[in-house]
Structures are given as structure tokens and as C-alpha cells.
């Protein structure tokens, strides 16, 4: 589909700033419309919803990681308040398991029963649903439920799960491997071997990233009721993909989709954690109909930490080949992803590993590439694609390896990068794994980052000892963020969700306001503001006169929802299309009213007028005539009126490529292992910025989460599969005192494929900090001969790396192979 607007011309950020800044449309730093209610505490989240007669649910959950269920005993006197899978299966139609298939060859699906049946496969797996007048009483009942479980050995470590499993998580598979993939590109066979032999630099590492718990401020929560008038389930749920939840509920409950309405009200952060069909959603949907009362379950922080999904546990056994200048020649990698106990709906257990194989080369050119991946199943919660999906781990792997190669070659790391990156004049570029880079100037981002962080200043400071004995380091990392992936990227995985065409329904109200209905969901992305800016850009309507309707399957067009940094590209494109259609409807009505030819009617700044200047109407006046005074409209006017559906799909749907270089200076305390961030610079290119302030906000938030990945966050398990953090005192999140104010520098290379040249950018901030900070820490530890190979770089790991280097110069943390240290 061709864009409706002439493609915005390429503008360098500095040039862009020389123009007057727009104040309302695309490019304006408009204040967020949604903040009025949020700052006044007037938002409505699932937790705020109270329905008459509503009961509360608590779940009895498995205390063991792996075991066979022999019996579940309901407490005496509470038989009617406790439900097990047997009850859900006895209904008509019976409730079925969550089964997420992928068409990738060799993929083994899992059956996840909403309440455990036969076996439990992780601590926290729901076993029984308990309902009472209050949550506290429901918890009392849940505490009294007794499950007889025969312990089985827990499968805890992903490498052990693959190589020497103590047990099988899903017996019918014969192993613990969801999926194995191989991605190759460039030279193969003998030619690859010859390259390896001839490479001046060869570096090999085992790298590991910790399992993390996603921690949106608001956890999950469900309130549902059965509407007898509509014969429809009405579910309020803290979700990012309501249409997908509806599809999944329909499939597992055995009721048609029109009989289900899913509403995501205000949602306090998603980050991927809310992109899933929850067992709890299925349970409550069944329960409300079974008992004929509204029911509510709000996930508490303990459930969030121990029972529900995690993310990001990767292992890389990686070798990088480079020439004597540090220029990349080839990558050879084996990567294992701990996918946990089940394949989640809709992303499946294959997504993370399949992505690793294809995105590992990042924005680099090379001659040969080989990556084998394993998604393994363990007795831990399933993983979901968290902000930055596989890329945070991939960026850590490739970028620490580029630095290691640069050190081996004796060059500055940025020189090694500049020698290997795709150049601006090569765009668009298909890389070694056939990723289609739409645009960008990666080397320039690095040059600007080096200038902004002032590399010589830190190198000079390293030359002089610090008065407090700390060690100074400086490092950086670059990455690309493929976003708004379309059909061509997703259909190959054959999972329940393939993004296609995105729609927006637009309606002008009789007083000239605009309602926009989109299927994506805004939970921090500021879509209520930025999509109003898009409408303003095209219709000239005041953004305050635009109301966004989202997060409600009863009101909005189907969409796969908000994930993969897609909303500004996809919903933004659809809103632009709908508004362009609305422009035509408005002009048609005006032409009839003014009695002038259509080509004489123009719409500017929210007014329609004829070019001769004789007539002029505001949108409100025109809408008033259309709806309230139809007698004034002559015959021949288009009867379709002021309600339209616009649809969008990018001309090339392989996704937009935002990118950034993060550069950071650190001080490492060799007496404690503490790392302090002294300066942090981000040079980011997200194409045309629809709202630069919102973009900065996304970068700040993502970077804070990335700092968590780099230094703090770690969901640890003991050898029995027991989670070692059940409160936020043990699961360490970065806070205000740990996150510096990054300096953001924008470049603006518009995507040639999107409506305004905008690129998805919601995840990027979270991708690079692990890699950039690791490179800076390793730069600081270089005089000691120590190197870290595992995230997070907790004080314990920093001290272990220093101790290991003292003990004999072994490169890397001793925990890299097993990864159980804090």
C-alpha cells in the first residue's frame, strides 16, 4: 500500500531543529493527554473495579517444582468454594489446556492445564482455585488445601536440562528440548574452516544472562462477570493484547469469540509480561459462569515473582573471528535459552531462541555466520518476550565479543565497530541472516556517542589513580531494534498470532470531535496523545478534540495488540489512513454544501473552505450540518457519512530498524564490587519522532530496565527449583538512586516504508545497557586482568572475577558455566 502522504524528507536532527518545531502534529512534544487522569489518581485499573456481588479468588499453588499429583484435598466445609481441574473439565464444554503450536520443524508443544492436572512443573503452578467474600478469606481457604504430590527431580539448569537431564519435564517428548534451530549464512564448510584458520583474532567465551522477572508497577489482574442480557463473558484484564486473549479464551473454554468481550482498562505497564493468555483468566472465566457471580483475582507481588512468567535466561558458547584490526569476519555460536515449563500463548516457547539465531549478527557485516539454538524446558516459569525480547541477550553477547576481539587486536573498541558496521550508503541492506535493514547511519551514531562521552577524557583519567581507589572504565554498545514486524516475519513461525493489516475506525461526532478506535492497547506508550497528533497532522483537528478508544474487543477492530514496538507504525499508519479517508468525506460534504467542484475544497487547520474564499466551515459546523441538519445537504452527497475504517500495512513489512549507541563511564570499587555509573550517553535514531518527549520517556524507562538487567535483576533458584526471591527485597530492581539521567542525542533517518518515516522504538532503551555497562566494567577491570561474562554484574560476580584473575588469570567469572551465584 502506498503511503497517503508524501514521504517525509530525510532530515538530520540538527537540520530538523533549525525548522520551527510543530506544536500539535507529528514532531510536537505535546504534553501527555493521559497524564491528567494519572496524575490526579483518577485512572481506572483492574484493581479499582468493583462489581455488585463480586467474590474474590486466591489460588492454591504448588510448593514444589516438579512432582506427580496424587490427590488434591478440598478443606472440609469448603468443598463448594474450591475448584480443581477436574471441576473445570466436568463442565460443558470442558475446559481444555493451553496448547501453543509452532509450525517450525521439530517443535514440541506442551499442554498447560489452567489448574495442574497429573503433574506440577514449576513452583507456583495453580492447583486449586478458591473463592470467598474477601481475598484474605480466599487465602485462608487456599492455605488449607492439601495436595499430595510425589516429588520428582527438578530440572533447574538449562545446560543440564539439555545434556544430562535429571528428569523429563514433559515425559512424552523423550528429552527437554522444545526446539532446536540452525541459522547459517555466508561461507560454509571448508571455506568457513579456512576463514577460521586464517583469522588473526579468535576469541571464545561462555556468556550467560540471568533469568529476570518482569516487574510492571501493576501486576496482572482479572475481574469478570457473565452478562446474561448479551449472553457474553465480560472480562476486565490487565493485558496488552485483548483480542489475542479473547481468541485464546475461546479456544480453551470452547465458546465462540463473539460471546466474549475482553476489556483492558488502564494498564500499569506491560513490557511483554501482559502479552499472554493466563491460566488464571481461563479459570475465572469458567468460575463466573459456574457460580453466577462476578469474580476478581489480583496478582500479588509474590505470585508475580514466583509463579508467573519470567524472561531472558540465555547461554552463549560463542567464538568470534576478526582480522588484525578487529574487523569482524565470522561468528560461530551455540546458544541455549531456558524457556521454562510451558509454551505460552500466543508467543510460544520458540520465539526467543528463533530470534537469537537470526538477530545475533546485529548491524555488522561478516563473511560467515553459524548459530545453533536450543529452547529447553525446565521446572521454572515459562519465559515471555520482555521489552527488547531476545535482543538484550544478543546485544550483550555480540557486543562484549566485539570488545574482546578489539582488546585482542589491540584497537579501541569503536574502531573495531566502525570497521564492521553496515555503512549508510549501503542502505537498505540485507544482512547475513537476510534481515532487511531499512535505513540508518550506524557508524555516525558511534562517532557521535564517542564525541559526547568524550573518550579521551576517560582515557586520561584512567592514567591517574583515583583518590578513592576505584577503577574507571568506559564502554559502549550498538544495536538495531527491528520493530513492527509484519506478516512476512511472523508467518514462518506458525504461532497463534501473525500480524497482518491494522485498522482504525474513525468517527466524527455531531459536535465535530473525533473518536478513533484501535485494536492495539496503550499501557504507558502514550498512544492517546501521539495518535491524536497523527490525527491533527492530517485532519488539522485539535488533539484535545480527539478521543482514543482502545483495549476493548467490543469496541475496536481486531489487532494482535501492543508488542514489538509496533503501535506507532501500525496504529499510527491506520489512524493516518482513517483520517485521510475522513478528509475525503469532509471535502465531499463541503463541496455539496458550498456547491463548488470537489477540487476547489480544501481542509486546513481544522477548517474546510473553498479556494475562492467564499465559504468556510469548522469541522464542528460541518458535522452539525451532516448529523443535525441533513435537510441542508443536496442529493448526491456520499451517504457513507463521517464514519470510516482505515487500514494499514507497511509497503515492506519486514519491520523498521531503529538503532542506538549507548556509551557509559563507570567506577568499579575493587573493595566491594560495586559499580557506579558516572555518565551515560544515548545516540538514538528512531526515524521521524512523532513526539520527541514521549520518545525520550520511552528511552529513559527502557534504559532503567536495562540497568536492572546489567547490574541488579536476577531470579535465582536453588537446586530443587525453589525461587530464591519472593519479595522485592530479594529481587533487586534499580530505583531512582541507581539510574542516572542519560543524555539523549537524536538522529532522525526516516524509514522509507512507513507513513511519516517513523520507526518503532519502545524497546531500544532496554537492549543496550547490559552490553554497554559490561564493556565499561571490563574496561575498568582490564588492569587487573579480570573480565565478566555474566549478567547481572552483581558485586559478588565482580569480586569473583577479580579473585579468579588473581588466582591464575582465568578469563571470566567461575559461575559462567552454572550461574547460580548472586
Amino acid at each position: 500500500m502506498t503511503p497517503i502522504l508524501p514521504a517525509y524528507s530525510l532530515m538530520d536532527h540538527d537540520i530538523a531543529r533549525a525548522r520551527p518545531l510543530p506544536t500539535t502534529g507529528v514532531g510536537a512534544s505535546l504534553q501527555r493527554k493521559e497524564d491528567r487522569r494519572f496524575l490526579a489518581g483518577e485512572g481506572e485499573f483492574v484493581g479499582n473495579i468493583k462489581l455488585p456481588g463480586m467474590l474474590h479468588v486466591a489460588f492454591a499453588r504448588s510448593a514444589v517444582a516438579h512432582g506427580r499429583i496424587l490427590a488434591v484435598h478440598k478443606p472440609a466445609g469448603f468443598e463448594d468454594a474450591v475448584f480443581t481441574m477436574a471441576d473445570l473439565e466436568a463442565g460443558s464444554p470442558p475446559v481444555g489446556p493451553i496448547r501453543v503450536l509452532s509450525s517450525l520443524p521439530g517443535f514440541k508443544p506442551s499442554s498447560q492445564w489452567p489448574l495442574a492436572r497429573d503433574k506440577v512443573r514449576q513452583v507456583g503452578e495453580p492447583i486449586a482455585m478458591c473463592v470467598a467474600a474477601s481475598r484474605a478469606e480466599a487465602e485462608d481457604i487456599a492455605d488449607a488445601v492439601v495436595a499430595d504430590i510425589e516429588d520428582l527431580p527438578a530440572v533447574v539448569d538449562m545446560l543440564e536440562a539439555r545434556d544430562a537431564p535429571p528428569a523429563l519435564v514433559h515425559e512424552e517428548w523423550g528429552d527437554n528440548i522444545f526446539l532446536e534451530t540452525l541459522v547459517e549464512g555466508g561461507l560454509k564448510g571448508d571455506a568457513f574452516e579456512a576463514l577460521k584458520r586464517g583469522a588473526a583474532v579468535k576469541v571464545h567465551r561462555r556468556l550467560r544472562t540471568a533469568r529476570q522477572s518482569m516487574a510492571p508497577m501493576e501486576g496482572r489482574g482479572v475481574v469478570c462477570s457473565w452478562n446474561t442480557r448479551l449472553d457474553q463473558l465480560e472480562m476486565h484484564t490487565a493485558a496488552q493484547m485483548p483480542h489475542i486473549n479473547r481468541a485464546g479464551l475461546s479456544e480453551t473454554l470452547g465458546i465462540d469469540q463473539a460471546s466474549i468481550r475482553v476489556i483492558a482498562p488502564d494498564v500499569g505497564g506491560g513490557f511483554g509480561y501482559k502479552g499472554i493468555l493466563l491460566p488464571e483468566e481461563i479459570c475465572l472465566a469458567w468460575l463466573t459462569r459456574h457460580i453466577g457471580r462476578p469474580v476478581k483475582w489480583i496478582e500479588d507481588r509474590r505470585e508475580q515473582l514466583i509463579a508467573n512468567t519470567n524472561c531472558r535466561e540465555h547461554h552463549y558458547d560463542i567464538t568470534v573471528y576478526a582480522d588484525a584490526r578487529g574487523r569482524l569476519l565470522a561468528i560461530d555460536c551455540d546458544s541455549v535459552i531456558d524457556s521454562g515449563a510451558y509454551s505460552s500463548y500466543p508467543f510460544s516457547a520458540c520465539l526467543e531462541a528463533a530470534q537469537v539465531g537470526s538477530i545475533l549478527p546485529g548491524p555488522y557485516k561478516m563473511e560467515a555466520f553459524r548459530c545453533r539454538t536450543w529452547s529447553v524446558s525446565t521446572n521454572k516459569p515459562p519465559i515471555l518476550p520482555y521489552r527488547g525480547v531476545a535482543r538484550a541477550g544478543v546485544c550483550f553477547a555480540i557486543e562484549t565479543m566485539v570488545d574482546a576481539a578489539a582488546r585482542a587486536a589491540g584497537v579501541e573498541p569503536h574502531e573495531a565497530r566502525l570497521a564492521s558496521l553496515i555503512e549508510a550508503d549501503e542502505m537498505p541492506y540485507d544482512n547475513i541472516t537476510r534481515k532487511h535493514f531499512d535505513s540508518g547511519d550506524y557508524p555516525e551514531a558511534i562517532r557521535r556517542a564517542m564525541q559526547a562521552i568524550d573518550l579521551p577524557r576517560w582515557r586520561a583519567r584512567q592514567g591517574a589513580a583515583e583518590p578513592d581507589g576505584r577503577l574507571i572504565g568506559v564502554g559502549h554498545a550498538v544495536f538495531c531494534e527491528q520493530a513492527a514486524h509484519g506478516t512476512s516475519v511472523y508467518y514462518g513461525w506458525g504461532i497463534p498470532m501473525v500480524p497482518g493489516h491494522e485498522q482504525c475506525g474513525a468517527r466524527m461526532t455531531p459536535d465535530g470531535r473525533l473518536e478513533l478506535r484501535i485494536g492495539a492497547q496503550s499501557h504507558g506508550q502514550s498512544l492517546e496523545t501521539t495518535l491524536a497528533q497523527v490525527a491533527n497532522e492530517i485532519l488539522g483537528i485539535d488533539p484535545d478534540h480527539v478521543r482514543l478508544v482502545h483495549g476493548d474487543t467490543g469496541m475496536t477492530p481486531y489487532s494482535t495488540g501492543t508488542w514489538g514496538s509496533r503501535s506507532m507504525v501500525m496504529s499510527g499508519g491506520a489512524v493516518a489512513e482513517a483520517c485521510a479517508l475522513m478528509v475525503e468525506r469532509v471535502r465531499d460534504i463541503a463541496a455539496h454544501l458550498f456547491q463548488v467542484p470537489l477540487d476547489q475544497v480544501m481542509l486546513a487547520q481544522g477548517r474546510v473552505s473553498d479556494r475562492a474564499g467564499g465559504h468556510s466551515l469548522t469541522l464542528a459546523e460541518l458535522a452539525h450540518v451532516w448529523y443535525r441538519q441533513p435537510q441542508r445537504l443536496p442529493p448526491g452527497v456520499n451517504p457513507a457519512g463521517l464514519e470510516v475504517i482505515g487500514g494499514y500495512k507497511a509497503r515492506v513489512d519486514t519491520g523498521t530498524f531503529s538503532y542506538a549507541c549507548h556509551a557509559v563511564a563507570v567506577a568499579v570499587d575493587p573493595g566491594t564490587g560495586a559499580v557506579e555509573l558516572l555518565d551515560y550517553v544515548i545516540v538514538e535514531d528512531a526515524g521521524t519522532l512523532v513526539n520527541p518527549m514521549v520518545v525520550d520517556g520511552q528511552i529513559y524507562g527502557g534504559t532503567a530496565q536495562g540497568i536492572g538487567t546489567a547490574l541488579f535483576e536476577e531470579m535465582r533458584y536453588d537446586s530443587q527449583g525453589q525461587p530464591l526471591a519472593s519479595t522485592l527485597a530479594d529481587y533487586m530492581l534499580p530505583g531512582a538512586t541507581e539510574v542516572p539521567a542519560p543524555r539523549i542525542i537524536h538522529m532522525e533517518t526516516p524509514s522509507p516504508y512507513t507513513t511519516f518515516g517513523q520507526k518503532g522504538m519502545g524497546e531500544g532503551g532496554a537492549i543496550a545497557p547490559g552490553a554497554a555497562i559490561a564493556n565499561a566494567v571490563n574496561d575498568a577491570l582490564r588492569p587487573l586482568g579480570a573480565e565478566l561474562t555474566e549478567l547481572p554484574m552483581s558485586p559478588r560476580r565482580v569480586m569473583a572475577a577479580i579473585a579468579a584473575s588473581r588466582a591464575g588469570g582465568v578469563i571470566g567469572s567461575p559461575h559462567a558455566a552454572k550461574g547460580q551465584a548472586a
Partner: protein, 282 residues
């Protein structure tokens, strides 16, 4: 994360509280600021049947100087914030205020109390390490009457103290420091406001013959290294007192406390002790 059922009675006097705590039929516990007990209830790791609110007992909220010996008598229900804000008499040259200001976050400090913290006896908390450093004495009241317990023997293990389960901690007696006393108190936390992974405290008061070093956030009660009064008095300078605390001695004490098996923790404790010495001597 909702508390199990319990009864609650607000005590208005020490006698009241002690009488209520003597109930052996029900599992009864005092509730002060609720900053430790509250989370334990919500996480359902504690199941008391009857909680006795002690924050409204007037005498527990007082802090004054005992004219008899100059001790600070710090009521058990004084919140950390009040100490942080300098609203109690200072006999420790700012040490108590310094420690208070670095406990948790302000919201916790507004409610959390000295007595609650000491009775809770989390090895990683601050008052259980500060009071032994200062040579303070705990004042406890039970049915048998009042008694004093030396802070250095008060904590008997992680989350256990010398208090009898029916006793109420009513105050802490903190001896006044000499004019030339110097102290250092440092701790290592992953983030400001988190519990410490290691605490180092040093007090050198030559006039009063005190040379004391505390290493806290161990697996139990803090390690206290006490120099003899004669030796301290005989020392020509504060540095001469500190010179006794060699790495070898500190490491031996760390090993003896059973932390040595974890080299990271041992190193942290050594680092904090060294830094506390440096602060005291600075």
C-alpha cells in the same frame, strides 16, 4: 499477601502491655511500627493470634538524659525519623542520627521504631549493630519486673534475642561519649535503603578507655572486637588504638564467626571494617 486473622489490642501503659503479653493461651506479640511484623503477617510467615499495639504507650515514646549518669534513655517506640531529625538529645556526637538517616526509606523511618528493630534482631539491620558499638544497655520489663541487658549479649542469633517472650523492651540506655570520641559507621547495600550486606562500626574514646570495632550483617549477632581499657588509655593516639585492628586479626574474627566460607562476604566485611576505621580516623 493478606494477613491471617488476628486480634489487636492497643496498650496504653507498660503495665497494660506486660499483663496482656503474659497471656499464654494465645500466641501474643507486641506490634510497634509494623515495618517488619507487617510484611511477615502479609507473607504469612508469622501467625500471632493477638497483637498488642505499643506505639501509644507514652513512656515508650520519650527520650531524655538521665541526670544520674548522663545516659540517653531512648524509649523503645521512638521512630527512626525522630532520631534522624535531631529531635532527641545527642550524646553520641551525631552517630545515632547518622545511623537513623540511613535506615531504609523515609516512609519506613516514620513508623519503624528503635525497639521494634532491636527486638526483631535482623542481623543486617542497623540498631543491632550500633547499640553494641556504643556499649548500650537494653531495658526490659516483664511480670518479674525490670532488668537491663548489655547490648553485646542482647542478640543471641539471627532474629533471636535475650528477651523472654513475655517481656517488653521499654528503652535503650546509651552512655554519653567523651568530647574527643571518634566514630565511623559504614555499610554496604546493593541500593540505598536496602538491608546491608556488611556493616563496619568503630568507636575510639580514649578518655573513657573505649576502643571498639563491630562487624555486622553476619549470620547472627555482630562481631565485637573490644580493646582493653588500659591499652586504649595508654595509646598515644587514636591511630595507635586502630593499629591493633590488623587485617589478620579482622580476618581471623570473620572466620571465627563462620563467614569465611564465603570469600565475597568475608571480603565485604573486611572492607567495611577498614573503611569504618578510616572514617573514624579522618
Amino acid at each position: 499477601m493478606k494477613a491471617p486473622v488476628f486480634d489487636f489490642t492497643r496498650a496504653l501503659s507498660v503495665a497494660d502491655a506486660v499483663a496482656l503479653l503474659a497471656d499464654t493461651a494465645r500466641f501474643t506479640k507486641p506490634l510497634a511500627g509494623g515495618q517488619s511484623l507487617g510484611p511477615m503477617l502479609n507473607l504469612r510467615v508469622a501467625f500471632p493470634e493477638h497483637l498488642i499495639g505499643v506505639r501509644q504507650i507514652e513512656s515508650l515514646r520519650q527520650a531524655f538524659i538521665d541526670p544520674a549518669n548522663g545516659d540517653l534513655v531512648l524509649g523503645a517506640a521512638v521512630p527512626h525519623a525522630q532520631i534522624e531529625d535531631g529531635l532527641i538529645p545527642d550524646v553520641t556526637q551525631g552517630l545515632l542520627a547518622h545511623v537513623a538517616a540511613n535506615i531504609a526509606y523515609r516512609a519506613v523511618r516514620n513508623r519503624g521504631t528503635v525497639g521494634g528493630s532491636l527486638a526483631h534482631a535482623d542481623p543486617a539491620a542497623d540498631w543491632v549493630n550500633t547499640m553494641p558499638l556504643l556499649g548500650a544497655r537494653m531495658v526490659a520489663v516483664g511480670l518479674a519486673g525490670e532488668r537491663e541487658i548489655d547490648a553485646r549479649t542482647f542478640m543471641t542469633g539471627p532474629f533471636t534475642t535475650a528477651l523472654d517472650e513475655h517481656e517488653l523492651l521499654v528503652a535503650v540506655r546509651v552512655p554519653a561519649l567523651g568530647k574527643n570520641a571518634r566514630w565511623g559507621y559504614v555499610k554496604f547495600c546493593r541500593k540505598p535503603g536496602e538491608f546491608a550486606e556488611a556493616v563496619g562500626g568503630v568507636l575510639i574514646d580514649r578518655a573513657r578507655g573505649i576502643g571498639r570495632l563491630v562487624m555486622g550483617a553476619t549470620d547472627g549477632a555482630p562481631i565485637v572486637l573490644e580493646e582493653s581499657a588500659e591499652r586504649v588509655r595508654a595509646a598515644s593516639s587514636d591511630s595507635a588504638v586502630a593499629a591493633h585492628w590488623t587485617d589478620a586479626r579482622l580476618s581471623a574474627a570473620i572466620d571465627a564467626a563462620g563467614i569465611g566460607h564465603d570469600p565475597y562476604s568475608a571480603q565485604l566485611h573486611l572492607t567495611m571494617a577498614r573503611r569504618a576505621i578510616a572514617v573514624a580516623l579522618a
